[in-house]
Amino acid sequence: MMEEVKEVTSALSVHGHNIKITDVVKDGDVLTFVIVSQKLSGTGEYHVDRTWDDFEWLQQHLFSQEDVPGIQGVIFPPLPAKANGNTSAKVIKQLGVLGLGEWQPYVKALETFLQLVATHKILNKNKAVEVFLTSSDAPGRQKVKKNIFNRLSQAVEEMRKEGHKDVDEFFQTERDHNLVLTGCTKTAAEKFLDMVLTEQKIAVACGHFSAALHLCVEPGEDPDKKAFSRLCVQISEVFNSMKKNMTSVAENNVNTLGLGLDQESRYQEAEKEMLFRRTCKLVELENATRNAEKAKPVKKEAMEELKTATKTEFQEICRVAKQEIKQFQGVRVKMLQQALVQWCERQLLTAKESADQFNQHLQAFREMTQ
């Protein structure tokens, strides 16, 4: 347990783009992930064990970098929610599609989070990233002090700032666009999940039918009875193949497009939060400007100073935000493309395999004498 993060002068000592989570172990309610990263020096790897709480520790550290100029303009890579339900239904409620597929998509989402953080030019300078990835001891579990990013602090009256008119056309457009896109993406992700859950139900139903057919098999020498029994066994195999096919289809969905939509949805939300922070700062600036104008001479200087400071902060945020948005657009399109291509390729493969399988069954039936 480290009480204090040691000073590290250089940036991250490992590559960020190929961080991998190679294993996940479930012990009761707690999931432990094995994270492997490659040393920049090329001399080997770091293997560390981390739980979700450690991820949160990292995220909190990143949020609380108040001294980094324009930090509020950063689109923070989204961290998937904690998985601590004791039934699969609960987990699906918490995580959506990430709750399916035996933790595979969940692990991928955490991996992406680490990769995005470790390759982020501002964020990867934070020592917490180095500690998280390289320290053999687990990072501290103490709660970091409350920060500006703590959503719980955004009271209701803050929320109405969301609609506050912008002074910059670029940002107004981006905000409007983001609003529509977050809504659409969230809906698409939800509908996709519904589809996958039903596919799983069909797989189960096929399995039941297949099993029930075996009950129709009866012993005996009677040729008609034997013929019917044999038929039942073969039909049972067909439904077993159907089960395999549907299971495959659902798996493909979960691991590619399901994950992709979920990722996109959370990333859009992250952009939304950044834009909101900027808007809040804009409102703050407008208030400060008004106050400075209206201030009585005795307060005037103080108000002017405040206004200037706020203005600087705001400009920094805008500068960082513009970069971030550009970066973000590139990354998200690439991620979606990858998801779509993988999805298509895997479903195509499954369809080909299933077509072959069903054809084989069909031939076998056609050749059956009697």
């Binding site: 896109l181 809906t187 698409a188 589809m195 139903a205 029930a212 067909v238």
Partner: protein, 510 residues
């Protein structure tokens, strides 16, 4: 082979007019014609079927227990219990197979079919005219308005069999006509051991929707479901070598006008089930248990009991599958919509196009799901349902055999009693009573012999029928699974096409 109609039936005939209609069915039969021998109908029937006579009898029926609209009958409901008319039992009209009863149509090949003295010969002759007949039920058309409206279906037959007057013909029939046909066939053949395929179930809910003119998807589905069921019913009926040649069947398929079946008291599967249960109770109450000397029957009965349970399970399983498949179709359509909206909102051109394509692909996949759901349903679900219903008919013939045995035993017991009574009378001086006793004994001896013959005949028939059933079962299931697999392969091939078309779009992003 010109001596077609004969009365009384020659010794070669294995069937005898049933005199006690009430033995077969719970309800008492009150008609007077019961006691007459087979000769009666030969004189009365001018046309070639039992039909008109039966209708008359049905018209006399005071209690029309089955109006056109009755409640939904599910596979399991035991409520529908009356099988045939309450009044004159259909046993009145000669139940014997067409051999002794039907006046053959002059000048038609039918003549040849009905001059045989037994069914055995008919079946052996089957080889001559190979089974080649295809029936389709199509073009459902609403006739009339309001609650008197009904659906008329076109029944088209294509055949090369000499049994029929033409090769390609069609008629218009309504649902009650089918029920009427089944009712006639059941009353003629069930009790002598033939597995008569049950008619499709009635449905008050479905029909009411159609009557009031609701042109929505559910009433269309109902009509399609019914159309398909009627087609399968007819095909199953004509596949039976004996039923195919029944004049009622021929009339049903060929006649442009059919006398309306007034009381369509079809032997619903639920009704049969009730009868079977009642009979089972009666059997349990029998003082002398049936001596099942033939283990074959015992084993087969057990087999069918098991099969019934398994088929019901399978049916429930498939229903669940169909349900989920439909759900998937709905979900896919919703996802397609959301993907389209996402594509519209997307700024990045290539991504936007890809997402729109995605939406289109998903819509096409939705259609595939719907087709697959229909396949699941019309192929498997209906097949299993048909077999569950068919099994009730199978159980029915086994019960009839027990009843036949019981009747034979009863006659034997009665004979024994009469003989004892006669022996006693020998020592009294009552020549009249003695003669009467002797007459009664003679009559009873005849009955006992007939009872034994009936029992042997029904046993023989059931053996043949069961064998035919089991072969049909394998054929049916095989045919269905082949069709099903073909649809599965087709679906996957379609999917391959869609994915192959989408892949370049996905790759073209950025």
């Amino acid at each position: 082979m010109a001596d077609t109609v004969r009365d009384p039936p020659p010794d070669g005939t294995d069937f005898h007019e049933l005199e006690d209609g009430e033995e077969l069915f719970p309800e008492p039969a009150a008609a007077p014609e019961e006691s007459q021998p087979a000769s009666l109908p030969a004189e009365d029937i001018s046309t070639n079927s039992n039909g008109p006579k039966q209708d008359l009898l049905f018209d006399d029926d005071p209690e029309d227990l089955f109006a056109e609209a009755t409640e939904e009958v599910s596979l399991d409901s035991p409520e529908r219990d009356v099988l045939l008319s309450d009044g004159p039992s259909p046993a009145i009209t000669p139940i014997t197979p067409p051999t002794s009863v039907i006046t053959p149509r002059i000048g038609h090949a039918h003549d040849d079919m009905f001059t045989h003295s037994s069914f055995d010969e008919i079946e052996e002759e089957e080889g001559g005219d190979s089974f080649d007949i295809h029936i389709s039920v199509s073009d459902p058309e609403k006739v009339g308005d309001g609650m008197n409206a009904y659906m008329a279906y076109k029944v088209s037959t294509k055949t090369s069999m000499l049994l029929f007057k033409q090769k390609d013909f069609s008629v218009k029939r309504r649902f009650s006509d089918f029920l009427g046909l089944h009712s006639k066939l059941a009353s003629k053949y069930l009790h002598v051991g033939y597995i008569v395929p049950p008619a499709p179930e009635k449905s008050i809910v479905g029909m009411t929707k159609v009557k009031v003119g609701k042109e929505d998807q559910s009433s269309n589905e109902f009509v399609e479901k019914r159309r398909s069921a009627l087609e399968r019913y007819l095909m199953r009926t004509v596949k039976h070598p004996i039923l195919l040649k029944d004049p009622d069947v021929l009339q049903f398929l060929e006649s442009s006008e059919l006398p309306r079946a007034v009381s369509t008291q079809a032997l619903s599967s639920a009704g049969l089930l009730r009868m079977v249960n009642k009979a089972a109770d009666a059997v349990n109450k029998m003082t002398i248990k049936m001596n099942e000397s033939d283990a074959w029957f015992e084993e087969k009965q057990q087999h069918f009991e098991n099969l019934d349970v398994q088929l019901r399970k399978l049916h429930a399983s498939v229903e669940s599958l169909v349900c989920h498949r439909k759900e998937l179709s709905v979900n896919t359509a919703q996802f397609a919509k959301s993907a389209a909206m996402l594509g519209n909102s997307e700024d990045h051109t290539a991504l936007s196009r890809a997402l729109s394509q995605l939406a289109e692909v998903e819509e096409k996949i939705d259609q595939l799901h719907q087709d697959q759901a229909n396949g699941d349903f019309y192929l498997f679900s209906e097949l299993l349902g048909d077999y569950v219903r068919l099994l009730t008919a199978v159980k029915g013939v086994f019960e009839h055999r027990m009843k036949t045995w019981q009747k034979w035993q009863d006659s034997q017991m009665l004979l024994q009693k009469k003989r004892e009574a006669e022996a006693k009378l020998q020592f009294t001086n009552k020549p009249d009573k003695l003669q009467q006793a002797k007459d009664e004994i003679k009559e009873l001896e005849g009955k006992v012999q007939q009872g034994e013959r009936d029992f042997e005949q029904i046993s023989k028939t059931i053996r043949k029928e069961v064998s035919r059933f089991e072969k049909e079962r394998v054929r049916d299931f095989k045919m269905i699974i082949v069709k099903y697999l073909e649809s599965l392969v087709l679906t996957q091939q379609q999917l391959i096409k869609y994915w192959e078309a989408f892949l370049p779009e996905a790759k073209a992003i950025s």
